[in-house]
Symmetry: C2
Subunit: 296 residues, 2 copies
């Protein structure tokens, strides 16, 4: 049997590279798990391996949303960066779920659940940080990738995931970026975060919850010690901007702790992939620079 019972769902030529969709048995999630990887095309003048950009998706999404709507691969190929797209939750038939779209399947929040019924499967923090990197080394295209050079990005719930994973693992990533992140999920004026953290961790007010809140995490950074560059984009016409996301709370706290954070608020943009895809090129260029990949 292949390691992790890895199976290829599809291999699709796209933007001069190849989009691989794979499925495997995840020990961490006690579930089957799906993910996708875009591998840039081979180019004669590029002798290096491709560094990785991990992209964490938002509520309700799978790996397919950014693959189809993100306008990312054209720029991944141009900058010689591979993009890794995990799913947003376990998906097996026995994984707990909820009728709401913002809890359960599609809404793992990149934490390790400790409260029933979620604790059996909802370990998306450990899945992304520990198991997925091992699975990537077992893929049949693994030799094309530089598994030691990794950056992280994401949208909304996944934008927050990118920030928390970066803050909790300061040596794991070369750079972090977020599109419209849910930046302070333990706050009382973030209903999505309150609901998810209460369900998965038993409370949105406990130390464990705060250790998965990007704004709380960055407040605890010793000034000047977190060196990873951070880029955050936010749409000013995003209907969740002032009711769920609160990105400036993170930005202000990060600046106060001496972090290298760039924040841009864009007039007229909403929360959709029309916003994400607009600024995708600049995020990929930002990560390519930090990863020491190709600059044009």
């Amino acid at each position: 049997m292949a390691p992790f019972n890895l199976k290829t769902i599809s291999v699709t030529r796209a933007h001069h590279g190849t989009l691989h969709r794979l499925q495997h048995d995840s020990e961490t999630l006690s579930s089957v798990a799906t993910f996708a990887v875009f591998v840039p095309g081979a180019v004669e003048d590029f002798k290096d391996k491709f560094p990785l950009l991990l992209y964490l998706s938002g509520l309700t999404c799978t790996d397919e949303n950014v693959a189809q709507k993100g306008c990312a691969f054209e720029h991944c190929h141009a900058r010689r960066v591979a993009m890794v797209m995990p799913d947003t939750s376990p998906r097996g038939d026995d994984a707990a779920d909820d009728e709401a779209w913002d809890l359960g399947k599609g809404a793992g929040f990149y934490v390790d659940a400790s409260a029933a019924p979620w604790s059996r499967h909802y370990k998306t923090y450990s899945y992304v940080t520990k198991e997925l990197p091992k699975v990537l080394r077992a893929c049949d295209f693994a030799d094309a990738l530089d598994h030691e050079r990794v950056s992280i990005s994401g949208h909304s719930m996944g934008g927050h995931g990118a920030l928390t994973l970066a803050l909790r693992n300061p040596n794991a990533y070369a750079s972090a970026s977020a599109f419209a992140p849910i930046a302070n999920p333990t706050a009382s004026d973030c209903p999505w975060g309150q609901k998810a953290l209460k369900a998965y961790l038993g409370s949105a007010d406990c130390d464990e919850a705060k250790s998965h809140d990007a704004t709380e995490l960055v407040k605890s950074v010793e000034a000047g010690t977190f060196k990873m560059p951070i880029l955050i984009d936010q749409g000013a016409a995003d209907s969740f901007y002032k009711t769920q996301l609160h990105p400036e709370r993170f930005v202000d706290a990060a600046k106060e702790r001496g972090c290298d954070v760039t924040y841009r608020l864009h007039d007229g943009y909403d929360h959709s992939y029309f916003f994400v895809s607009t600024f995708m090129r600049e995020h990929i260029e930002f990560h390519a620079a930090a990863l020491g990949s190709l600059k044009i």
Copy 2:
């Protein structure tokens, strides 16, 4: 009442421009009709109006497929070209339909149906060539557009539509392009074309059907008289390439008649929007050059 009973469904900021979705009462289709227009962002150094690129979608699609998956708007903005995206069929509740996905709704084939029950609503040729240009002049962003400078493109059924509309209206468009067009729909080895033309026109073998077949049309061109540049891309791993599309038949006939046609066959690419989006930039650059719009 607004002209054509025009209503705005949504206005979304995207890629430094604006995506407008609109609905109106179509006299041609005896139906409500939806379409979308991407208008590039205003840029100080561009004093001109935006020329139009009409994009005709393929089977099962609406205006939303290319808007979400085409990776077009980034390049439309860069080249200062507006993109117009009509729907692929009438959609009203009383419009005839068929259980199959390749006939009826989503499958208008850009012809004017003459056979019952389709003839009442399925007039997508006249809709795109005659009514839609008038509706565009009534939109509240009409003054930003140069309605006299238009090019045409499309995918699959819509790629064929682009070629036939160009050949039937040689002075209407500056350039024509197609992604994986159904290039010879009256041929016995094109089941999609046989089925649709038989239904809409009563026969796939009549003069009327042949007058909507790009390969038959180009054969009737007087050598050297059709000056419009044509670009066609085809994926070599497209499962419909040899069973439905037959693009080389059109290309060979067009070259024989002295047309300015560029044909590219791409290893490994399929029929999906991963193929379309890969080559979208080059299509937009091709049309921008023919339209005399911005070149970078």
